[in-house]
Amino acid sequence: MTDVFLSMKNISKRYVGVQALDGVDFEIRKGEIHCLVGENGSGKSTLIKIISGAVAPDDSSEIMIDGQPFQNYQAIDSIHKGIEVIYQDLSLFPNLPVAENIALSQLISEGDRLINWKDTQSIAEKAMARIGVKIPLDALVEEIAIADQQLVAICRALTSDVKLLIMDEPTSSLTKKEVDALFEVVKDMQSHGIATLFVSHKLNEVLQIAERVTVLRDGKIVGTFPSNELDDEKMTMLMTGKKVEYTKYLAEIQGERPLLEVKNLSKRGNFKDISFRIYPGEILGITGLLGSGRTELALALFGVNPADSGEILFDGGQVKIRFIQDATRLGISYVPENRLVQGLIMPQPVHKNLILTILSKLLNRLGLIDSHKMQDSVQKWVNELAIKVPSLDSPVQTLSGGNQQRVVLAKWIATAPKILILDGPTIGIDVAAKSAIHEIIRNLAKEGIAILLISDEVPEVFQNCNRILVMHKGRFIAEYDAAQTSIEEIQNLINLSS
């Protein structure tokens, strides 16, 4: 048992009304790369918080680190024992320079009252040298790229005598290249005897890096498996408890004339020579890595980030889209990539979020909002998209990711769009909710709406789209007919180009 670094037995945590964790046994070996997976609400984040000492488990729980039992486990204990957590938000200080961000925690733990700027610099340089990266030390963290910010967070963890590094969804905003670089760093740390615990949604990445995978479901451990015994499908089944069948779907194109045609659309530093057509009832996929320009293109079509040059034809007639109002007038709706920031007003109740886009249709003769019309319309969408809410008055932030995404979708579908642009519609939602969203998308296409589905997940576009455009460095580099290609073919092209 000497090779076990962290051992947790019978970990339970009960919040008011919710059993977040129920008798979980969990262990991490020294220097191992371990992955923790599970759907939303399965208890992953609670488990991490307990490991980091941010949340106290219920009384029956036992925690042993390095063979030493712990009681009244606190955040400071975990830090002293060499456990560092990099949260999804990275916990950096955007207003401070890189060097200080890296060095601060060491300065705090050493209890120095005064700051020696030379020491600060050298601490930062040493940490960077350990993983062989170079980031300008005096740049403010808010000015550097997300991938670099992540490295800053790792460097900060490395300034202490870290034995276990926990990373919560570390790859969600990284490009493929950056993910590979990150994994190199993790493997390098492993050679120094540092264990890493990944928490991730992205199953293929999990399998690429982890030695062992622990699956959580509904607050209980399903099991810990060597990663070579798992594949995507099996892991999905373990996470959801049921077999999710992916089916391929080809929407039926309704009409001869393209609803939207784009010719040579360009914007400096965003995208170049973009041309495509989309027909009513069609689902057109755009895929490509993060930073390929796909979101910038979507924003151009929605008038947020207008193009510099090129033509847009709507239903055969030439149009200009310079403002969001131009786009909505044409019947173009856009569901943004980041629903938390751009799509929803989190503290507001479900019904207030739902009606935001259709306020003008709900007015009575006095120009005020008609509460009956509002109730009817809200009820209709909640039923139609099967949004699970405790009450229409519950704030959106209390819903699960899948239900939040349905609220965003409903909000835009309610405008009766002709073209619906979906940017990463299933980011951060679990497998079961994902297929439900796909079902909604397919049904919308059946009604004759043209759907532009933007996603970095190749299987997602492959399974839902008629045609797939691959974007790279601001250009379309390939077009595939979904009936005559395969996930591998598209994935290979993307991997090759990066």
């Binding site: 401070l96 005064l114 170049k272």
Partner: protein, 331 residues
């Protein structure tokens, strides 16, 4: 050098230089050592407030109540001086202790009841000031001891002007400079100072990094209170009478000056140098208007305009820079 010109402070400095040139062209007596020393002296109490406000703004909070704290501190000190004649030590100590105490009350309410700092300090402004008015009946205090007047007129060095009048670097200005230096050292060279920046930049990160948020919060508001107490005492030295309504109402001027100097109301940014420039700009505007014989009613209008123009210019520059950054490397 290039870096300096991309900073907010550079614009404020530019505005100050241009304004000074204009004012001097209209009235040459603006750009004299005598006027300069006089400005330094009479704005030192606002300058001391500004240091406290800077700390609070960097930490991500705001304090509106400092004018009331200063008034209470100043009044208590004056009552003591008039009744007991007083000594220099207690004259400093009384306003300092009152300031720190009232500041810590602010911090406690904000921290333990989790009430936004702006609401808390608007409320405590009214409470502190209200209690003082009730207890004092709004009475002005005269007849401060002679030694107090003489102390206020001390100078580090003295010069004589053409008419034979004496002027020089006042001890009050020296006090302000010393406080500025201490504040700069705290912000730049102590873990506490960096923790205040960290807390303002990202409160949850600061907590996770292991900063003692309660202590830092207490320190920031207590420091603001201390500054308010000292500023109250300095104000009494400057005018040699104590009126309950003399300082209340200056809050927004001070906050405007600190924001002009580049501190952000959302926390995490701001420098001592910028704050000095912000106060200087406000001082020069006000003094310049008098020298240019512009009716003082315009003062508020002009201060408001300067704040808007200066802040929007720096936001505009930042947006320009963001526009120039390339999102996608298009081949």
């Amino acid at each position: 050098m290039k870096k300096f010109f991309s900073r907010h402070e550079a614009y404020v400095l530019m505005v100050i230089v241009i304004l000074s040139i204009i004012i001097t062209l209209i009235n040459p007596s603006f750009f004299t050592l005598e006027n300069l020393f006089d400005l330094f002296k009479s704005y030192s109490y606002l300058g001391i407030f500004a240091i406290g406000v800077l700390f609070v703004l960097i930490s991500g909070g705001i304090d509106i109540s400092f004018s009331a704290i200063a008034t209470v501190a100043m009044y208590a000190m004056a009552v003591y001086l008039i009744r007991f004649g007083g000594n220099i030590f207690l004259t400093f100590l009384i306003p300092a202790v009152i300031g720190i105490g009232l500041g810590m009350i602010n911090a406690s309410i904000i921290y333990f009841f989790n009430i936004p700092s702006i609401i808390t300090t608007i409320a405590t402004l009214n409470i502190y000031y209200g209690i003082l008015v009730v207890l004092s009946g709004g009475k002005w205090l005269y007849g401060l001891p002679d030694w107090f007047r003489q102390f206020a007129e001390l100078r580090a060095f003295t010069l004589t002007n053409a008419e034979g009048g004496q002027y020089g670097l006042s001890i009050i200005t020296v006090m302000w400079f010393v406080i500025l230096l201490i504040a700069w050292l705290i912000l730049h060279y102590t873990l506490l100072g960096r923790g205040i920046y960290a807390m303002g930049g990202s409160p949850p990160s600061a907590k996770r990094a292991g900063f003692n948020i309660l202590f830092q919060q207490m320190f920031v508001y207590a420091f603001m209170g201390l500054m308010a107490g000292i500023a109250g005492m300095v104000h009494a030295m400057l005018v040699q009478t104590v009126a309950p309504n003399a300082i209340v109402g200056k809050e927004l001027d001070v906050i405007a000056a600190v924001v002009l100097g580049g501190a952000s109301l959302t926390g995490g940014t701001g420098t001592i140098f910028g704050t000095i420039l912000g106060i200087a700009l406000i001082a020069i505007l006000s003094n310049g208007m008098t020298l240019m014989r512009i009716p003082s009613f315009w003062y508020n209008v002009i201060i408001g305009l300067v704040v808007i123009i200066s802040v929007s210019f720096s936001v505009y520059r930042r947006r320009q820079r963001e526009k120039q950054t390339i999102l996608v490397e298009v081949e």
